[in-house]
């Protein structure tokens, strides 16, 4: 047999890869203390290579700061395991009843790896806060932002032109779709402190909007990955029309509805410009009828959170009433709504909205693996028992 093929099909490789996976998971767990789950996940499990560094907070850092451990990342290990498994099956395994358990387990495992990759790549998570008695037709992603130009001239609806802030590169010119406007990013801060300056700022880059009217300035700060902290994304954008530069605005995701809208005018037309958390709009509205937060008597320990909602779809045949509570999400139109949090003295309910087209895959793979394990170990066990009997 081809030695390369033999290497990729060997059980030795399996064991080594599994050992590396264990190491990756261990250090990927440790680093969560400092980087939070989200960032660690990107660093360790959704990568090809990762280097663990001795944490600053640990004992004797000044003597051990040089300690670094490179290791293969999740994508690399996953791919290698996948190849290893396939090669092993092609070369060594013959399908027999005796091996059916192993086959089922391995096939389930492959499906699980694939579904996990799919989730990484295509699933989208966002949040939808709704006030009691209020309605909402969009959810917000807290880790991505968009620069929007809103045309409110139509009496029935608004037209929103959106540019993901990922595309904002300093100096780069971008045309705002379907308008005669174009933008150029002057400055961009992934995280910043935004506040009102006490005295007028001498070299204010912005010459329009809140930056001038309310003397708001932004200073960059380090990006945070903590679980419950957000990054204040801020940009200074120069906006031009067909005839040249109109002005420079300061936009930020903390400059929201609490501030007067920042308007850009060009001739007859005008747009509201804003940088905000990326919104996903839906063809339906969720109305929060009632939010309940119950506690065990005589304690502050929560006993139940639940939201009674009514879904109003554009197509009223799809209207639906639902109760969303712990462990009981609402699955609707390919989306899943979970009771995630609450705010505003129990008057606002916050739903986690997840779109994961592959959500059923783990269930299938899990069934296969469970079944395979039962077959495999069941056969072992029966053999073990029957060996004992005659003795």
């Amino acid at each position: 047999m081809n030695p390369v093929f033999k290497f990729f099909a060997s059980l030795r490789l399996t064991v080594v890869l599994l050992a590396f996976s264990m190491m990756l998971i261990f250090f990927g767990t440790l680093d969560q203390v400092h980087y939070g789950i989200w960032h660690t996940q990107k660093l360790y499990f959704e990568s090809f290579l990762v280097v663990w560094a001795y944490p600053e907070q640990w004992l004797h850092y000044n003597k051990l700061f040089w300690l670094h451990l490179p290791m293969p990342g999740g994508y690399l290990l996953g791919a290698m395991l996948f190849v290893n498994l396939l090669a092993a099956h092609i070369t060594r395994f013959k399908f027999t009843f005796k091996k059916s358990g192993i086959f089922l387990i391995h096939f389930g495992l492959i499906l699980l790896l694939v579904s996990e990759l799919m989730t990484d790549l295509v699933s989208k998570e966002s949040q939808m806060p709704v006030d009691e008695g209020g309605r909402s037709n969009y959810s917000q992603a807290f880790r991505s932002n968009e620069l929007v130009f809103i045309d409110r001239s139509h009496p029935e609806h608004d037209t929103i032109h959106s540019i993901p802030t990922k595309l904002l590169k300093i100096g780069k010119q971008i045309d705002v779709p379907d308008t005669s406007l174009s933008i150029r990013t002057v400055r961009f801060f992934p995280n910043s402190n935004v506040g009102r300056a006490q005295a007028p700022v001498a070299d204010n880059i912005a010459d329009q909007g809140v930056a001038i009217k309310m003397n708001v300035v932004a200073t960059p700060t380090e990006v945070t990955y903590a679980e419950n902290e957000m990054n204040t994304e801020t940009a200074y954008v120069e906006i031009s029309g067909a005839d040249g530069v109109i002005g420079t605005w300061l936009v930020s995701n903390v400059i929201d509805e609490r501030f007067p809208p920042q308007m850009v005018s060009l001739g007859e037309q005008s747009w509201e410009v804003a940088l905000r958390f990326t919104r996903n709009y839906y063809p339906f509205e969720i109305e929060l009828i009632d939010f309940k937060h119950e506690k065990y008597p005589g304690t502050e320990v929560p006993f139940n959170f639940s939201s009674e909602v009514m879904v109003h779809h554009e197509d009223s045949a799809k209207d639906q009433k639902a109760l969303i509570y712990m462990n009981h999400p609402l699955r609707y139109e390919g989306l899943t709504f979970y009771q995630a949090s609450f705010a505003n003295q129990d008057k606002t309910s916050i739903f986690q909205v997840v779109r994961n087209p592959g959500w059923i895959l783990p269930y299938i793979s899990v069934l296969l693996m469970g079944l395979g394990m039962c077959v495999q170990f069941g056969m072992h066990f029966i053999k073990f028992l029957s060996k004992r009997r005659p003795a």
Partner: protein
């Protein structure tokens, strides 16, 4: 001789039971049992005063008994009665455990070799303690051992004070002896007192003396409502299950708002006065009346509350723990002498211990109305239970004592861990909303915890292999093969359960948090156990590791399982971290080191092995080297 062995073992077992189930010597004539079953609402649950007394004492003294100054040992409930009804006496009992009293630097406090101190011992140092306490870092995690001790003493004193005030206001003997009169004069002063208050505000003439008395009552009870620790007064019937009970101060204040005084208030006053005067009949009658009232108001809860008191006094886990010691010793001796008799006896005691362990587990399930594992404490109890269950099966099939010995070892160790986890108070606490799902608790949590049991049992068997193989000279090839088969079988179990449990957890997570897998520490820990199992199985199937290597992997499984079980909670991140103490960190490190030592032991070259098995292996290895050396090619 044979029979004598059985009789000795039986006698030992009976001794264990006798110690535990001995009826409490109670010559006082007070019906303590019915008092100890009076209800109180704590942590969202109705339980007997007995449980409160025990938990409070565990927090203060780390044990469930109190020594009075005249050398008599008191039950927790007897101490509780003295604390609430004869505080002047309770203040002399040594209930505050101070591990290092010399380190405190409080002149005149520390006594040679004494770790328990009374309220009165500490009294002269209150000012200093409070000063020290006020300077501590508000973040408990940043405190040193010394700071933590100061904080513990302060918290303990606070708890002591608040529990003392639970049944009625505390004062000098005159006040406690005339509580009923006090309540009567208070309730009769409410109407005229409010009247006088209104008049005063309107600027009319009023009885200043009456108003002053009324206001004094009000101030006093307001303070009491903030101090009293226990919610002992149920709302008037019919009672909703989720309704808040009130503490004594709140109930007394309620009278001002026109509410009738609950009969429980008068009941407790009556109990206290009778107890202080030594009127047993009066006390027993009042306790009985209160109990009848509770039965009438809470017909669904009475059985549970009664059973909880019985469960408390039986202490099945403590009995099981002692039986595990007997089993372990019996098996060890059986390898030297009387193998058949002691082996048999050990097996049956193991079955008995398992039944008692099961009884304890089932009792907790009944009391809590939940599947067996709901927190770290109950997971420890369950891990031991699962290991013993597997051990009973192993022993049933092999009958060589190994299964029994290792199962009893794991059972004992996990119950010790559980015992220490119980020090923080109530172990039958309510579940947070996200965990409130009996279905998932019964499936995911139970299955995964059973996986821990299997991994630990396999690890213990592997350690046993190393210890016997290296040090014992009787350990032969056959035993080694049997052990290797056992470890393999148990790891198969462990891997199966860990995988299924992890997967069920994924499904639960998908249902409640919207993702199947989130790389949360606890999830990662579970996955690491599965991978550990997979490594072992693939290494075995592929012949990559032989005897010693596989055993070393099984011991490494202990480390991984301990990490998954406790380590991930220590990190304090993620959705699964439901609280844990920091001292756990040092224990985890100690456990890790001990396991590394065992791995080193198992991996020792064959020539260091003293057993027959090891020597044979060594010879084979030498031969192989010789043959290889002589090979002319």
């Amino acid at each position: 001789m044979k029979n004598l062995i059985y009789i000795i073992v039986l006698a030992l077992v009976l001794m264990v039971f006798g110690r535990q189930l001995k009826p409490s010597s109670n010559e006082s004539g007070f019906n303590i049992d019915s008092f100890s079953e009076l209800p109180v609402q704590v942590g969202g649950r109705i339980k007997p005063l007995d449980s409160v007394a025990r938990n409070t004492l565990l927090i203060l003294s780390a044990r469930q008994k109190v020594e009075s100054p005249d050398g008599e040992w008191l039950q927790p409930i007897e101490w509780f009665m003295d604390l609430t009804m004869r505080p002047e006496l309770a203040d002399t009992y040594r209930v505050f455990k101070i591990e290092f009293p010399d380190d405190l630097g409080l002149p005149g406090l520390a006594e040679q070799g004494q770790r328990y101190y009374s309220f009165n011992d500490l009294k002269p140092h209150f000012k200093t303690l409070l000063e020290l306490y006020s300077k501590l870092d508000p973040e408990p995690k940043k405190r040193s051992a010394y700071d933590a001790q100061i904080a513990d003493i302060n918290d303990g004193l606070m708890l002591y004070h608040r529990v003392m005030h639970s049944l009625h206001p505390i004062g000098g003997p005159e006040r406690l002896d005339s509580l009923a009169d006090e309540y009567r004069s208070y309730t009769s002063s409410v109407g005229p007192g409010m009247d006088a208050l209104r008049k005063q505000q309107a600027g009319d003439d009023y009885d200043a003396d009456l108003l002053r008395r009324f206001v004094t009552f009000g101030d006093d009870y307001l303070k009491l409502s903030r101090t009293a620790h226990l919610r002992v007064i149920p709302p008037p019937p019919p009672v909703e299950p989720l309704e808040d009970w009130e503490n004594i101060g709140e109930e007394l204040l309620g009278v001002m708002q026109g509410e009738a005084l609950s009969p429980y208030v008068m009941g407790y006053a009556g109990l206290t006065m009778a107890y202080r005067r030594g009127e047993t009949e009066m006390f027993n009658q009042t306790a009985q009346d209160l109990r009848q009232r509770f039965i009438a108001d809470f017909p669904d809860d009475i059985d549970r509350v009664h059973y909880e008191r019985v469960f408390n006094s039986m202490q099945p886990f403590s009995v099981a723990m002692q039986l595990y010691v007997i089993i372990f010793l019996a098996v060890c001796i059986s390898w030297l002498r009387w193998p058949k008799e002691l082996g048999n006896a050990a097996f049956w005691v193991l079955v008995l211990a398992f039944i008692i362990h099961t009884l304890g587990l089932a009792s907790r399930m009944y009391i809590q109305g939940r599947p067996p594992v709901t927190n770290l404490y109950s997971s420890a109890v369950f891990v031991g239970w699962g290991a013993v269950l597997l051990g009973v099966f192993l022993e049933r099939f092999t009958r060589n004592g190994i299964g029994a010995a290792m199962a009893s070892l794991v059972g004992f160790c996990t119950l010790i861990v559980a015992h220490h986890l119980a020090m923080s108070g109530d172990t039958l606490e309510m579940m947070r909303a996200v965990l409130d799902s009996n279905f998932w608790l019964a499936t995911h949590v139970v299955v995964i915890t059973f996986g821990y049991s299997a991994m630990f049992l396999a690890g213990a068997l592997a350690i046993f292999y190393g210890v016997l193989g290296v040090f014992g000279n009787r350990f032969d090839n056959k035993s080694a093969r049997t052990l290797s088969g056992m470890v393999y079988g148990i790891i198969c179990f462990g891997t199966l359960f860990s995988l299924v449990g992890t997967i069920l957890g994924g499904i639960w997570a998908d249902q409640s948090w919207g993702r199947f897998w989130g790389w949360d520490p606890k999830e990662n820990g579970a996955l690491m156990i599965v991978i550990m199992g997979a490594i072992y199985l693939h290494a075995r199937w592929g012949g990559i590791c032989k005897d010693r290597g596989l055993m070393a992997l099984a011991i490494a499984g202990n480390v991984i399982t301990a990490w998954s079980w406790f380590g991930t909670n220590l990190l304090g991140v993620g959705l699964h971290s439901y609280g844990f103490t920091d001292s756990g960190f040092y224990w985890l490190i100690a456990f890790l080191i001990s396991q590394l030592v065992f791995i080193g032991l198992v991996l020792l070259p064959w020539r260091f092995w003293r057993s027959e098995y090891g020597r044979e292996k060594d010879q084979k290895a030498r031969k192989r080297i010789l043959i290889a050396g002589a090979d002319p090619t």
